[in-house]
Symmetry: C2
Subunit: 386 residues, 2 copies
Amino acid sequence: MSTAKTARAVGDTAMPDGFSFAVEAVDGRARAGQLLTPHGEVETPCFMPVGTKATVKALAPRLLEELGARILLANAYHLFFRPGTEIVAAHGGLHRFMGWPGPILTDSGGFQVFSLGDTRVLRDDGVEFASVYDGSRHVFTPQRAMAIQQDLGADIVMCFDECAPGTLTRECIAAAVERTTRWAAACKEAHGRRDQLLVGIVQGGVDEELRRRSAAELLDIGFAAYAIGGLSVGERGEEMLATVALLDELLPAGKLRYFMGIGDPLGIVDVVGRGVDVFDCVLPTRLARTGTAFTADGRLNLRNAAFAADMRPLDSECDCYCCRHFTRAYLRHLVNQKEMLAAELLSLHNLRVLVRLAGAARASIKAGRFDAFAEDIHVRFAAGGQ
Amino acid sequence: MSTAKTARAVGDTAMPDGFSFAVEAVDGRARAGQLLTPHGEVETPCFMPVGTKATVKALAPRLLEELGARILLANAYHLFFRPGTEIVAAHGGLHRFMGWPGPILTDSGGFQVFSLGDTRVLRDDGVEFASVYDGSRHVFTPQRAMAIQQDLGADIVMCFDECAPGTLTRECIAAAVERTTRWAAACKEAHGRRDQLLVGIVQGGVDEELRRRSAAELLDIGFAAYAIGGLSVGERGEEMLATVALLDELLPAGKLRYFMGIGDPLGIVDVVGRGVDVFDCVLPTRLARTGTAFTADGRLNLRNAAFAADMRPLDSECDCYCCRHFTRAYLRHLVNQKEMLAAELLSLHNLRVLVRLAGAARASIKAGRFDAFAEDIHVRFAAGGQ
């Protein structure tokens, strides 16, 4: 599938055709906004479920629609190898391949190239690495990452970056910032689909100077939206939040901000309170597959014998299909018997909890009572023991 | 949970309260009927999906409703051990435990006692065996099997029997017939719930004299419905069909007939053509979990590389959610990546195929053209190579 090459100029930060983003309300640092894409509207703050291999594990698209998901993620690295970009492109792109009519975001594969396998070789123009599927060797460059994502056809695509955790040495993180900037410029140069929003990713670990440098360099190149990468990967919580707060000051107020990889309710509330609009994580669906459920008061591990004869729903405040029809005792039975229905029902529930949480955060921001909302969530989770 | 003991007299074959069965049309030996239960109506011929552990694997009850399932199976042996009969009874029975509002049938556990584990000891009053879950030793008797099934609370319950495949020696099968008769009398004596239909099970392998003996003895005891057990367990197809045809002559024309364990489209058409009303099997959902789909023209194994870029639905004649939204290429991707959504979508599709098949058989019987219908199914499957 060939795609038109009409690269945008350095410094151009206009939204592409069919996109817009507007901040509708601000409360402290928290923002309520609206993102328009060619495949529909997303009200922010918004949690984005992760469908790495073009499926949110265990959940059919219609269930995702039902639980209120508005935008999904998929992953360029995995789809490049399986089923192969050309198979997705032959369907006309990811929307039709995975049967999801709403907006989709693809991650570039940068994170996977660096985190999967241990045989990568850094090159000036990109990274050589071994496929996690069959060990075959490949090179991803910014140009390659853009071509793959253009063929996959998501609404929102990510720059090819190097995710450097704050736990690395400052030299390593600085080098990752340098590469990320260079590659971001190359991605912008290479990206040509006018119906895709290309997002720049700020790196720099939890080092204030490196974060300032990374943000400034990306702002110089100019993107229509910015992501915060390299957090929630092992650093201390207070360092993470200080870094998000710093970026709230550095990133343009009118542009969409995406925190890459946060999915626990407390963390979501904390980053929304520091100016983040959209966020994603595998946590809710991964926890579901181990028998753990989010509730209004913390997490429940259904393997616990205490639930063997518990006739209550998972969460009496939840309106999801799982909570309206099944008891904790039944769900525990499914989990213990390794029945697939357990993963389906708990995934649906956990995602619904995060969708409702984001919706409640939005309502509180618009009502000017976000601080009270965030405090309430913290108190509940402290009482529930997390 | 205590249940009233109002055992019925030998020879009484009346339907219990809230039940009725009527044959509405006959075409050759094939029958179209209507079964009423306290939890709803079942039009026959009818395929009953199997939910051994109180869940049809991978499918939430609402999806089963949507695909047209009208009655589900569950298994007394498995539920006795996990989660334990008392947990199900505390929910008020299986319907509320598993969130299925329609009719439910429980198998007695006889088949499992004989087929799982190899440490069983036959006793006059029942079978001593080791639990497949933890090796603990237990005794199932007709009385115990009735008590468990009464507490589980299905609409239709099965006598505790010994399933003797036609591949055993005649002596073994004859002994199993003797025990099955004795236990059937004990089950009828012990069963007291007037809101449950107790079904007698005919055994006898593929031996005409033993089948006649078993049928005659069960008819003497008297049941309101009869099952054909001990077939589809290794005997030759023509022997199986001859045995079903024999039982069509022996069993009362006005009573429901249940063939235990048949789920391939050809086999279903063949037994319906010999007077069977309802039937069950794990095959459609088990095949789904290995990536195999029923279609109008035979089976497809989606692991086959031929489907890698196949943009067609599984079955262009199918109206299920899977066929309306996804390509074979996408389904193959899900199967190869071991994504749970593959099992969900293929289970839904395979069950929908059997539900539609049974519905088409019913329509053809009512229209007096069952033979042409059965011939068409045979020709299609022969062409499809399965």
